[in-house]
């Protein structure tokens, strides 16, 4: 089984430096693309590979890039922004790539920026990822020293600068428009779409925002071709995926596996199954903002379409497992506490709705729940549905709640009926 994006990463070792990275075949894609391919050819390869964005929404990367105005007419500078804000609870995959193989990310960024004819790239790193930021910064210096960055890279005539930006740290800074505001030094508030960043992004210029993992796949697609990339997958979506698992499993962790590996395989084989005395009750397949999948769905294939059909989202592909000895109401309350805190405060339903949701859940958990509370929660889910709020934070925030109200209805009812939490 091939694991292209984690092949250089060794637990306990530091990241490969420039030399070892090159020795392992690194920066070949930069050379190949910049000296032998047109930007359009790189874009075509990515489109053909069926790579879908790993930031959560699973938007096809080639299609996203195709919206960027190209050629002499395009307004400049154009920007590529690598989203390394990773603040979704339960998600820690980008951290591995940032800390474990920063040169791979730099190489991916160079090739992607080249494909977009972008002059400037930013790597936007979450505030708490100090070590990652240090390692990326060092890699940028090394890459510039080796002539992979700067002007006339490898004699190709192509110029690119990469800047590292360490965010001030908020979940909303991961939302691509909030991120762009933060980069511009403004209060991070999502922007209305359209216009999309591809036409009017950072400082009003064409901009592409991609997730770290998305970008890390690019060099391999360029090196090995779209067919190879698709062959890595067990589904329609191309490539491998970094899956993670947390919760009461035996071996929480991250694994690079073929896209479309089943939830059961990930939990039972790679994570070693549930810990003694705990059994699997449900899971969020892709981070805190995805709907719970009940036990019956454990055989779902973990690719974008299959998870969608099962009633949730692949999201970031990092699974949060809910066991039978954890109160689901408490778990959901915990999630909503996070979302209510992280709402940017721009639009009413999210700003006012989430704290209310949090309060209701806490009162239910504490045995103060009242008749009508669950209906109220359902109304809130509707009020915070996609399109009803300004950005996707709020709909994401109520996804786990919405599913919990269905799957764990009896648990909620018991809390209210018995005026206490049955788990305590």
């Amino acid at each position: 089984m091939e694991t292209p994006i984690t092949k250089n990463i060794r637990a306990g070792n530091g990241p490969p430096d420039l030399k070892s990275y090159e020795w392992a075949g690194g920066y070949r894609a930069v050379r190949k693309a910049l000296t032998g391919m047109t930007p359009q050819a790189v874009q075509d390869a990515v489109t053909a590979s069926n790579l879908k964005g790993r930031g959560g929404a699973g938007f096809p990367t080639g299609k996203k890039w195709a919206f960027v105005p190209m050629g002499a007419e395009a307004r400049r500078p154009k920007y590529l922004v690598v989203n390394a804000d990773e603040m979704e609870p339960g998600t820690f995959k980008d951290r591995l790539l940032l800390e474990g193989d920063p040169h791979q990310l730099i190489e991916g960024a160079i090739v992607s920026a080249y494909a977009l004819e972008a002059e400037i790239a930013y790597i936007f790193v979450r505030w708490e990822y100090r070590e990652a930021a240090r390692r990326v910064a060092r890699a940028i210096v090394e890459a510039r020293g080796a002539g992979y960055l700067g002007s006339n890279i490898l004699g190709s005539g192509y110029n690119l600068e990469i800047y590292l930006h360490v965010s001030a740290g908020r979940y909303i800074c991961g939302e691509e428009n909030g991120l762009l505001d933060a980069l511009e030094g403004k209060r991070p508030i999502p922007r209305s779409k359209p216009p999309f960043p591809q036409t009017c992004g950072l400082w009003g210029r064409p901009t592409v925002v991609n997730n770290v993992e998305t970008i890390c796949n690019i060099p391999h697609i360029v090196n090995n071709g779209a067919d190879w990339f698709k062959s890595l997958s067990r589904s329609e979506d191309g490539g491998t995926k970094l899956y993670g698992a947390s919760g009461r499993v035996k071996r929480p962790g991250l694994w690079e596996l073929p896209m479309g590996t089943s939830l059961r395989e990930i939990i039972e084989e790679h994570a070693g199954g549930m810990r003694e005395g705990f059994s699997f009750r449900a899971a969020q397949p892709g981070g805190a903002s995805t709907e719970f999948l009940p036990k019956e769905q454990i055989d779902v294939k973990m690719d974008f379409d299959s998870v969608q059909k099962a009633g949730s989202r692949l999201g970031t592909g990092t699974i949060i497992v809910l066991d039978d000895r954890t109160c689901p109401v408490g778990a959901v309350h915990n999630l909503e506490m996070f979302f209510a805190r992280e709402s940017c405060g721009w639009c009413t339903p999210c700003r006012e709705g989430l704290p209310w949701v949090r309060e209701i859940l806490w009162s239910i958990e504490e045995g103060r729940g009242e008749a009508g509370d669950l209906e109220r929660l359902e109304t809130q889910c509707w009020q915070l549905a996609p399109g009803h709020t300004f950005c996707a934070l709020a709909p994401g925030a109520v996804e786990p709640l919405q599913s919990a109200l269905k799957i764990f209805r009896e648990d909620f009812d018991r809390h209210i009926r018995e005026k206490r939490c049955p788990w305590k």
Partner: protein, 913 residues
């Protein structure tokens, strides 16, 4: 045009608008919070939700935000859809979760957009049963009270304050439902448009602090249409009164003039009306001067008779802050040749020149609304921010046409505020400023040029030359200046609507002529371009139109013994001319009669003082800088003998045994007489419906139909309800009875419509949202450039004049709070007035060895020496010093002028004088 379907009915609407604006223009009641007609859409509150249907067959539809959706041809929406209604009610409920529900003690209550919208959405019962989030409030200075718990986080305040008005010290802090709107710490909000927050904020977070000191509900305010008297722009206002005191000023929308906003000088300057310096009754003073004593009207009239007994011995001094009617009455009393315009010699000359340029053409003076569409501006010698604040606010909004085109090419409409700002990157239209001293707009300018007034004028002429011949064509122009001239000429030429602004404030005729030369060149070469001159006071333009000789000539007439009696209309001569000159003038008169509303140094010298009404107690006409005549109406009936000045002067005319004023029964009569005598004022007779105008036989009530306690108001003196006073001058009545519908635009006493109790009721009075008022925006333009006349006379280009060693060129400086005579009497404004100072650039101050805050002696020819503290002002040219005009504590000096400075010796130990 586009056809859209609302609840299955077709409507034809203008292209490229958003659905919210369209629905409101069509008269639908669709609730909103974050959208503002001047600041447009951002989609934050989610209150304006409607249902969108794909086509006729689509029955499910989806919820969208009307303010964020283009009303494109064929679009089908529903406002009444049950789900959309439920969603909107849900949003209001969300907004109300932590709201304190303290309407009874909230200053906004009764005119609160949140109350109105809550009723409109039908939300009645709050389901939220948890602890509310609370905030602490801040001290924000003299103008605004802050009560953060009432905030619904619509973001209008920061969008107005920062994005629209360019303020820097208010912002949104924190996130989630802890989001906080205020300053980074307690302190005075510095932006001079801060008061608009009281109207922009849809709830009671930001409220008028001065109103709070003598608070009353909106429904208990007696109001009338009025015009701001604190600068020459003539912003339309709605003053409100109760129990004989003026309580506040609100904006009165006029699409051509001020639109939705006022400046803080205009909003808060009103307190002089209630001030203890008001002249409340006639006063007599003995021949030896001393204390004046109150007298009866009868006594006053007989003293008047004595003073006026010899015809031909009388001269009158008019005023740029008195109405056209009062000035005209005085002119009638004394005769055209014995009417003096009551401003300094310099101001009279400059005003006359500016007026002549505008009348001659070819450039036309634009309204503020037209200025809003300019796409390149050159300001010559005016500190617009401080002399005409709302014009500065207008200039901050200019966007070059090509940026609009760029945004449209990205499918972004200008009403999509956030995206639009992102697309154009806040890039403003080219704005060039040339002036002797730094101005409030310098930070926003493309380039600024600070030099002596003559050098500024030379730059202006150079620009005109480039436009006409392609080269600056002027001897000895430094290279950087001719380069700048080329750049400015190019920007003006490329623009679709170039605008040149200058005015009286710079004190320089050559700057005015330079501005005129540019606009002439633009007109003749490119066939475009507008020219705006700023005048200093609320009726300076009216006075200029009326003519009148200068104060110096008045002095001459008195000195020669051709007159012995002086009638001074609403004018403190000590702010017009140097003290010795004014002293001479006053001393050479045997009788001085002053008609004014406020005591000043001039009224202290009069033997007879007659109490005049302020704008709030009388009606009249003012002409603004654009040349627009506008009517203001009496808001309330003052106590005692206070009357419009023209009525006192009318008495004087009759007492002198003359008949000209006999027919002046009401304001319309004197306006008519004025128009007959001076055809320039013909349009004044058309600025508003005549006094006998009635709708369905009824007058228009100044009091809202909900005014409460009318019978109780006088109960301590009489249990019977007194007869309301009659207002002969206008179709407005001092009662709550009368015509309940919408009044004609010039007579709108307040904006109110069923279900719309807040200022946003103005939506219902406009032809379309943010467009003209129904029936047309009030006011009549008195100046249109003569057709086809081309001035040939080449203007004299000033020489670059150097300064001799030890000589300083003293130039005027302006302060929004401080320069204008009446507003500084308002206690709130007074808190913002700086202490007197003399400005020097730091380099000059260093070479003089004078530190900030140290005193210098200022010696101007023929004027008293003044000792004044020095303030450093970066950007002043070397050799130029600045003195704030009319600032309390600063003596009047004719500016610009060459002066000398003496630095007193310092005592050794402290370094202080």
């Amino acid at each position: 045009m586009a056809t859209i379907y609302i609840d299955n009915k077709p409507y034809v609407v203008k292209d490229r608008q958003n659905l919210l604006q369209v629905c409101l223009s069509l008269g639908f009641d669709l609730p909103y919070f974050c959208w503002h007609p001047a600041m447009h859409s951002v989609g934050a509150c989610r209150q304006c939700a409607v249902k969108l249907f794909r086509d006729e067959k689509d029955t499910r539809g989806k919820i969208i935000m009307a303010c964020m959706t283009l009303a494109k041809d064929g679009i089908r929406i529903s406002i009444d859809d049950p789900e959309a209604k439920k969603f909107r009610a849900g949003i209001t409920e969300f907004l109300m979760t932590c709201h304190p529900h303290d309407c009874p003690v909230c200053d906004e209550g009764g005119e609160c957009h949140l109350q109105d919208m809550t009723v409109m959405t039908g939300h009645t019962y709050r389901g939220y049963r948890f602890r509310k989030r609370t905030h602490r409030n801040q001290y924000l200075g003299p103008f605004l009270h802050h009560e953060m718990n009432r905030c619904i986080a619509c973001y209008r305040c920061v969008r107005f304050y920062c994005d629209y008005a360019g303020g820097r010290d208010l912002n949104a802090f924190q996130c989630g439902n802890r989001v906080y709107f205020g300053r980074h710490e307690d302190g005075v909000l510095e932006n001079i448009f801060s008061g608009n927050l009281a109207e922009v904020c849809p709830t009671g977070v930001f409220t008028d602090k001065t109103f709070r000191r003598h608070y009353t509900r909106k429904w208990d305010l007696q109001t009338a249409p009025s015009v701001c008297v604190h600068c020459a722009l003539g912003c339309n206002t709605i003053p409100g009164e109760r129990y004989g005191t003026l309580r506040r000023i609100h904006n009165r929308y006029n699409g051509e003039v001020n639109g939705y906003f006022l400046c803080d000088r205009g909003r808060y300057g009103y307190e002089f009306v209630n001030g203890n310096r008001r002249i409340r009754g006639p006063l007599l003073r003995g021949p030896g001067g001393g204390e004046a004593r109150p007298c009866t009207r009868g006594e006053a009239l007989s003293r008047m008779e004595e003073a006026l007994h010899t015809p031909g011995r009388l001269i009158g001094i008019g005023s740029p802050r008195a109405s056209l009617e009062s000035n005209f009455a005085l002119r009638t009393l004394v005769g055209k040749d014995r009417f003096f315009s009551g401003v300094s010699e310099r101001e009279r000359k400059l005003s006359a020149a500016a007026l002549e340029i505008l009348q001659r053409g070819p450039a036309r003076t634009p309204s503020l609304h037209e200025i809003r569409r300019a796409d390149a501006v050159f300001i010559i010698g005016e500190d617009v921010t401080n002399t005409a604040p709302i014009m500065a606010l207008t200039l901050l909004q200019l966007v070059p046409c090509k940026k609009v085109a760029l945004a449209r090419s990205l499918q972004i409409e200008p009403w999509d505020d956030m995206s639009f700002r992102e697309a154009i990157q806040q890039e403003c239209a080219p704005l060039y400023i040339a002036s002797a001293a730094p101005t409030g707009l310098d930070d926003e300018a493309t380039r600024v040029y600070h030099a002596t007034p003559d050098d500024v004028a030379r730059l202006a002429f150079a620009v005109a030359h480039v436009l006409e011949s392609g080269v600056p064509g002027m001897e000895g122009l430094p290279e950087n200046v001719s380069g700048l001239a080329g750049e400015i000429a190019c920007a003006l030429k490329e623009a679709e609507r170039p605008l040149v602004i200058s005015g009286i404030g710079g004190g320089s005729l050559s700057m005015i002529e330079g501005a005129a030369a540019i606009s002439r060149a633009l007109r003749s070469v490119c066939g475009k371009g507008e020219l705006s001159f700023l005048f200093p006071e609320c009726n300076s333009m009216g006075l200029a139109l009326m003519g009148g000789r200068s104060l110096a000539e008045a002095r001459e007439v008195l000195r020669e013994g051709d007159a012995d009696t002086l009638v001074i209309l609403e004018n403190d001569l000590f702010i017009r001319d140097a003290k010795p000159a004014v002293e001479e003038l006053l001393k050479s008169a045997q009788h001085i009669i002053v008609v004014d509303h406020t005591h000043n140094r001039t009224s202290e010298r009069a033997e007879l003082v007659l109490p005049a009404s302020t704008f709030a107690e009388g009606s009249g006409t003012l002409v603004n800088s654009e040349g627009r005549a506008q009517r203001f109406y009496r808001v309330f009936v003052p106590d005692g003998d206070i009357r419009e000045s023209w009525r006192w002067i009318q008495d004087m005319i009759s007492i002198s045994g003359r008949g000209e004023a006999a027919g002046w029964k009401v304001l319309d009569d004197i306006a008519g007489a004025m128009a007959r005598e001076m055809p320039e004022f013909e349009a004044v007779t058309r600025i508003a419906p005549p006094a006998d105008f009635r709708i369905s036989g009824e007058k228009i009530p100044r009091q809202p139909h909900r005014a409460s306690g009318r019978t109780a108001m006088h109960a301590h003196t009489d249990v019977h309800e007194p007869m309301p006073s009659d207002d002969l001058d206008s179709p407005l009545a001092f009662t709550m009875e009368g015509y309940g519908g919408q009044a004609p635009p010039a007579l709108i006493p307040r904006f109110w419509s069923p279900g719309w109790n807040s200022v946003q009721a103005v939506n219902k009075f406009q032809q379309e949202i943010a467009g003209p008022l129904k029936g047309g925006d009030p006011g009549q333009r008195l100046i249109e450039p003569a057709e086809g006349v081309k001035s040939a006379s080449p203007d004299k280009i000033p020489e670059a004049e150097g300064l001799r060693p030890g000589e300083w060129l003293l130039v005027p400086l302006y302060h929004t709070f401080g320069t204008e005579e009446m507003s500084v009497l308002s206690s709130s404004v007074a808190e913002r007035v700086p202490a007197p100072y003399l400005a020097l650039c730091p380099e000059d101050a260093l070479s003089l060895g004078i530190g900030e805050g140290e005193a210098a002696e200022l010696i101007a020819s023929g004027e008293a020496q003044q000792r004044i503290r020095v303030r450093y002002l970066k950007g002043l040219p070397r050799g130029v010093a600045g003195l704030p005009v009319s600032l309390p504590g600063v003596g009047m000096i004719d500016l610009p002028q060459k002066v000398s400075l003496v630095i007193p010796a310092k005592t050794a130990d402290t370094g202080k004088v």
